[in-house]
Each structure stands twice: as structure tokens, then as C-alpha cells.
């Protein structure tokens, strides 16, 4: 009796020592990381705000350490870095894509002057589809993205943009021609590739196959092969680039629930990682370069819990399932975009409020990078004016609202902690379902994921129709006398776009056909060989003047044309 009592006491003591040790380690790390940036922060009432609040009341159990831990410590529920937003806030990365490369350059330089500290390039839908501008009806060009078909176009896009100093996101799935163009621009400017930072955004072909369908370029097996080649190439040649961006955004936008989104996204990440491991890569060589791209909706607490749960699950998966030993591999880094689906065409100025709430959920969720939607998103590609408000929203949240003073400020809330656990359980059940189907690749091949998304999307629509889910201005608080606000629609100047096409045709006439033929031969050979890297050939070919459309046409011939499985 007395022996067991003392054992119990010893157990308690050990546990409390371990939390003290962890806390001391965090304090040490925090002090080191934050250095001279630390400052005393007081709230309006003059109370000093600590950088972190911890559950002193559960110091006698290991539960806190196991399920939450400290920021920058496994399982990263409270954030992947010890300082989080108190040390460095998020990257303000606004998605920009419109018109000609000249239009893009003008817009992106304005955004950088306004405080954005990273760039993002979205290609024209014709580019997503895999064709060059000289084969496309003029009205469709540049309305939703920039028309970038060769290295010269990219050079213009990035004119006076210091690509060795800012991080760039290239929104361009397999075979990553935009990034290939950018590497050639770097070469022209004498910038070494290890200075190039950023992300092959949306490189997750599975997400396009399931939800966005915009990849629609190569067959499923072809895309799988090119992605692994791309990761391998970057690992060797562009070591500070993130070649893998696992996308949860499309799946959530297409209708998956938040918990399903976590399950599907992490299942995709497992698939991509296992494909790389099967190629003989080491988990700790590739996983630190995995990034995630999530949607952030207006379901405020659920979103915060979603991100906390996702981090915790990924930490366990990378360490226990994928065998990673480097803590950098365990950290789920993510970019978030505020959800366009939540925005309404009715009373559109209300969307500014919605976006601010979504952005707050993302910040409290511990994001590393963010895009905020403009309020005119339900109508058009943002104009310069509305895009400025979207950037200002981020600036207000960062500068005025004191959201970054405390790390994981909702951590420890009974509700948030419980919800985090529940979201984790739900997501793990989805992952188990995908595993039972043979993994994410198999699950999307047979349509399992598409069916689940479709059902959730329909259920959500029915909730809105029945009024169970209330949307201000849509099914409640409608304003019959709503004054129409002027929404400006920006369409590219057709004269300038025609000039862009003419110059492109001229470029094709004047380039060395011999070099182009040779590069396409090399690409064909690489695609048909197991030992060559297809992406390396894409980079070489673009340097030889081969265009986006030509590369995709060649690879479609060799690797198969993509046919997403669509379940209506």
C-alpha cells in the first residue's frame, strides 16, 4: 500500500519535472529565437500580456505534453515554431494573375510596395488547360490569370522583382513549366538556383484530379511520375524551393467537410511521401520541403481546431509512419486562402467582414502564409482597388488587433481543446478509410473521395436551402432595398492582348527550330525512360525556347492525356 503510494507520488513528480523541463527548453528557445525583438506588451487595461499561456492546472499529467506540447515541440498542436507570430508574422502572399505579363508586373510591384512580402503567380485558364495563347479565343485570355507561355513572358512578369530575395509561389501543376521558366530567368540574371525560394504551389495532382480538375493535363500515372521527378530535381538542384504543396483548399472548396479535408489532404501527403520513398529518397530529405495549402472558411472555431488537429496528426504520421527523424520533417507548414465559397453576391461589402473573420481563424490556426480574398470575388477577378482592401485587412489584423502578441491564444480553451481532439478523431477515421481503399491514389482512381465530397457538398447546399445554415443576405437578413454597388469588372485590354499574341507568334517564327526539335526529342526520350528526370528536360526545353503548350502536348502524347474522374 505504502509502496504503491510512493510510486504514485514519484510518477507525479517525474511528470511535473518533464513539463518543467519542456517549459524551460521552450523558454530558452524562445529567448534565443526572439532575441532583441522581444518587448513587453500591455493590453488596454495595462496588464502585461505573456507570450504564452500554459495549463498549470494539468502539470501533474502527461496529457498536455502528449497532446499539445509547447510551440515548436512535437506534436506541434500549438504551432510549429517556438516564437510563432510573436517572432515573425505570416507571409502576405496575395494571389495575382491577370492579363499580359506586363499587366502582372505592374500589379505585383504595387502589391510589394503595399506591404506584400512574397509573390504568387496564377496562370491564365488556357495555361492551366495546357495550351498557348495563339490557339485560344481572345475573350478568354488573361481574364483569370496571366498569359505566360515562355521564358520571355516570365522575364517580363518578374521585371525588377528581386527573385533572389523574395519568395515566389508558382501556381502551376505538373509539369511545372512556370517554375521552369523562372529558373531560366534566374539563369539569365546570373542568380544561382540555391537563392531561389518559394513553392510549386498546388503541385498536388491528386487535388486537381478530385476537385479542381484544372490540372487536366497528364494522365494520373503520368502526373504521379512527373511530380516525383520534380521533387527529386529540386532536392538536388534548387534546395531551398518547396516542390511539394499538398492542397486541401480545392477539396474543401468543392464541398468536403473540414474534418474530411484534413483526412484527404494528409492522405494525399502520405501518398506523395511514400511515392518518393519508393524512389529511394530519404524522408528527412524531402519532408522538410513539403508545404500545405488550405482553405480557411468562416467556421471560426472549427477552422482553428482543424489546423491544430492537422498539425498533430501530421507530426505523428511523419515520425511514426514515414520514419522521419528530423523535427523539420514533422512540422506542418501551411499557406491559407480565405474561402471564396463563403462570400456572397448579395450585399457584397459584407464580404470584407467575412474575410476578416476567416483570416483571424487562419491566424489563430497558426498559418505561415496567407491570401485574403477581395470582396468582389463572387463577381470578378479582384480589381486593384478591392485587392488593396484585402491586403489592408491583413495589415489591420497584424498591426492593430494584437492577434500576434500571444502564441496559440485559443489553446487551453476547453472548447478548442475538445474540438481539436474531435477533429483529430474524425480526420483519422477518414485516413483509415482511405488506407483501407489502398491509399489516396487508389481511392481517387475508384472515385471514393469524389463521391464523399459530392455528398458533403449536396448536404451543405440543402442546409442552406432549408435555412438550417444561415447566410446573411442570402437566406436571412435579405435587403429588398439593397442598393446596387458598382462592381468594376476588369477585362484585359484586347488591343494589348492581341499584341501579346502577335509577339508570341513572332517569337515562335524567330527561334531556332533545330534547338526546339532537339529539346522536344530529349523530353520524349526522358518521358519514356525510367532513368531520366522529366522535369530536368522541361527546364532545359524551356531554356531552348520550347513553349508551355508544346511541352504539355509532348508529354500528353508520351504520358497520356488526363481525364479526371467526375462523379455527377
Amino acid at each position: 500500500m505504502s509502496a504503491s503510494l510512493s510510486e504514485e507520488k514519484r510518477g507525479v513528480k517525474e511528470k511535473s519535472e518533464s513539463i518543467d523541463a519542456a517549459e524551460a527548453a521552450w523558454k530558452d528557445d524562445y529567448a534565443k529565437q526572439i532575441g532583441s525583438n522581444d518587448r513587453v506588451i500591455k493590453n488596454m487595461s495595462g496588464i502585461v500580456v505573456d507570450p504564452l499561456y500554459t495549463p498549470d492546472n494539468i502539470k501533474d499529467t502527461n496529457a498536455y505534453i502528449e497532446s499539445s506540447g509547447f510551440p515548436g515541440q512535437f506534436p506541434y498542436t500549438r504551432g510549429i515554431y517556438s516564437t510563432m507570430h510573436r517572432g515573425r508574422t505570416w507571409t502576405q502572399r496575395q494571389l495575382v494573375g491577370l492579363g499580359t505579363p506586363q499587366d502582372y508586373n505592374t500589379r505585383v510591384r504595387t502589391m510589394l510596395e503595399l506591404g506584400a512580402n512574397a509573390i504568387s503567380l496564377l496562370p491564365c485558364n488556357s495555361g492551366f488547360r495546357g495550351v498557348d495563347c495563339d490557339t485560344v479565343p481572345l475573350p478568354l485570355l488573361g481574364t483569370c490569370g496571366t498569359v505566360v507561355n515562355n521564358v520571355d513572358h516570365m522575364d517580363t512578369c518578374l521585371n525588377q522583382v528581386p527573385i533572389d530575395q523574395i519568395s515566389a509561389a508558382m501556381n502551376d501543376p505538373s509539369p511545372f513549366t512556370l517554375f521552369a521558366f523562372m529558373l531560366n530567368v534566374a539563369k539569365r540574371r546570373g542568380i544561382s538556383w540555391d537563392k531561389i525560394t518559394g513553392t510549386s504551389n498546388q503541385s498536388d495532382y491528386i487535388s486537381h484530379f478530385v476537385a479542381n480538375h484544372m490540372f487536366y493535363r497528364l494522365s494520373l500515372p503520368g502526373s504521379r511520375r512527373v511530380l516525383v521527378d520534380h521533387i527529386e530535381f529540386c532536392r538536388e538542384r534548387v534546395p531551398n524551393w518547396n516542390p511539394m504543396s499538398v492542397v486541401g483548399q480545392h477539396i474543401q472548396q468543392t464541398g468536403a467537410t473540414l474534418a474530411e479535408t484534413v483526412g484527404f489532404t494528409l492522405s494525399s501527403a502520405i501518398q506523395h511521401a511514400e511515392d518518393c520513398l519508393a524512389r529511394g529518397m530519404d524522408p528527412d530529405e524531402i519532408l522538410p520541403r513539403f508545404t500545405f495549402f488550405f482553405d480557411v472558411s468562416i467556421n471560426f472555431f472549427e477552422e482553428v481546431a482543424k489546423f491544430r488537429a492537422a498539425r498533430r496528426i501530421w507530426a505523428h504520421i511523419t515520425r511514426e509512419r514515414l520514419g522521419a527523424k528530423d523535427p523539420k520533417s514533422w512540422r506542418l507548414k501551411f499557406h491559407a486562402q480565405t474561402s471564396g465559397v463563403d462570400l456572397t453576391a448579395q450585399q457584397p461589402l459584407n464580404n470584407i467582414a467575412r474575410t476578416a473573420i476567416q483570416a483571424m481563424a487562419g491566424i489563430f490556426g497558426g498559418l505561415q502564409s496567407m491570401h485574403t480574398d477581395a470582396y468582389d470575388e463572387p463577381f470578378t477577378t479582384p480589381t486593384a482597388k478591392t485587392a488593396k482592401i484585402a491586403v489592408a485587412t491583413q495589415n489591420i489584423l497584424r498591426e492593430e488587433a494584437h492577434l500576434c502578441d500571444v502564441i496559440d491564444p485559443l489553446g487551453g480553451s476547453y472548447y478548442i481543446e475538445r474540438l481539436t481532439d474531435q477533429m483529430e478523431q474524425e480526420a483519422l477515421a477518414v485516413i483509415a478509410k482511405i488506407d483501407a481503399a489502398g491509399g489516396m491514389y487508389k481511392a481517387v482512381e475508384i472515385g471514393l473521395v469524389q463521391t464523399m465530397c459530392g455528398e458533403s457538398s449536396m448536404a451543405n447546399q440543402e442546409q442552406i436551402e432549408s435555412g438550417e445554415k444561415r447566410v446573411v443576405g442570402v437566406n436571412c437578413y435579405q435587403d429588398e432595398e439593397e442598393e446596387k454597388i458598382e462592381i468594376a469588372t476588369t477585362r484585359p485590354d484586347p488591343v494589348l492582348m492581341q499584341k501579346h499574341i502577335d509577339e508570341f507568334k513572332e517569337f515562335k517564327k524567330n527561334r531556332s527550330q533545330q534547338a526546339v526539335d532537339k529539346a522536344l526529342d530529349n523530353l520524349t526520350r526522358a518521358a519514356n525512360s525510367d532513368n531520366e528526370n522529366v522535369f530536368a528536360s522541361v527546364v532545359d526545353a524551356t531554356g531552348d525556347g520550347v513553349t508551355h503548350g508544346e511541352i504539355i502536348a509532348c508529354l500528353r502524347k508520351e504520358l497520356g492525356f488526363g481525364q479526371p474522374l467526375i462523379i455527377a
Binding site: 485558364n125 475573350p139 478568354l140 481574364t143 453576391a345 449536396m458 436551402e465 462592381i487 477585362r491 467526375i566
Partner: protein, 151 residues
């Protein structure tokens, strides 16, 4: 004009739900396809990125009464071309409606091109189904008249 969407032989109305142009967002088209199916129509659904000529061919082969176009990312700008190609192919009895993101300034262009309905975000199931049924009835009426003229 009848709310009953069958013709004189009692066959249900046939609707083609599709997307033209380059955008791949198909959440809306899938939902509308399900609405019409639930309302008793026969729905021919296609994935996105249909060529205009292919849509005209499909409409002809499937003998549809109406075509629903979903457009999120400016593909509505080439809908007038679809309308003129339908006319060129002699498919004057087919009614066309569109749903998605259509800026106000660009609506008149679509009305002028002869579209029977334009639906923005937040449109209800009832509005959409009612319009589709009305258009299907108009289409059937036109077909009937054409048959009478021919006989």
C-alpha cells in the same frame, strides 16, 4: 405553357448541363444537374472544357430541349458564339440558360444572344428548376409548331 415537363408522348424533358471554355470548377454544374434530375428531367452531364462544336453535336445527337451552361471564370464571354453555332446547326428550338459568375455589365450581351435565364450566386433550387421547366416547355412548344408546319 405547362408545368408538366413532358411532351405529348409523356417523355421527360432532356437537359444538357455542361461547361465550355477553360475553367474547371464544376461544383455548380454538378449541383444543378442533380436539381434537374431530381425534378424529373433526363440530364446529360459533361465534364468541363467542352468545345463549342462538341456541345452543338451533343445537343443534336441527344435531342435535348435545353442546355445549361455553368461559368465561373469568364467562359460566359464565348456563350454568344455557342448561340450562333446552335442557330447555324438549325437547333433553333433549344433553349439555353446559364448560371455562375456573370458581371452585370455583361448580362445584356447574353440576353441579346437569346439566353432564357441567367442565374447568379445564391439562386435557389426552386428558381432554377422553375426556369428550366419553363424553358423546356417553350422548347417542346417550338418543336411541336415546327412539326405542325412541316405536316
Amino acid at each position: 405553357m405547362s408545368q408538366n415537363i413532358s411532351d405529348m408522348n409523356g417523355a421527360p424533358a432532356r437537359a444538357l448541363i455542361t461547361k465550355i471554355g477553360f475553367d474547371g470548377h464544376d461544383r455548380g454544374s454538378r449541383i444543378v444537374a442533380a436539381y434537374l434530375r431530381d425534378a424529373g428531367m433526363e440530364v446529360i452531364y459533361t465534364p468541363p472544357w467542352q468545345e463549342i462544336d462538341a456541345v452543338v453535336q451533343l445537343a443534336l445527337q441527344e435531342d435535348v430541349d435545353l442546355i445549361g451552361i455553368s461559368s465561373l471564370a469568364t467562359d460566359h464571354l464565348i456563350v454568344p458564339e455557342l448561340m450562333s453555332k446552335l442557330r447555324d446547326a438549325g437547333l433553333v428550338d433549344i433553349e439555353v440558360f446559364i448560371g455562375g459568375i456573370i458581371p452585370d455589365q455583361e448580362r445584356p450581351m447574353l440576353v441579346d444572344a437569346g439566353l432564357g435565364g441567367i442565374f447568379g450566386p445564391g439562386s435557389s433550387r426552386d428558381e432554377i428548376v422553375e426556369c428550366a421547366q419553363r424553358l423546356a416547355a417553350i422548347s417542346r412548344e417550338k418543336k411541336l409548331q415546327a412539326m405542325e408546319v412541316a405536316s
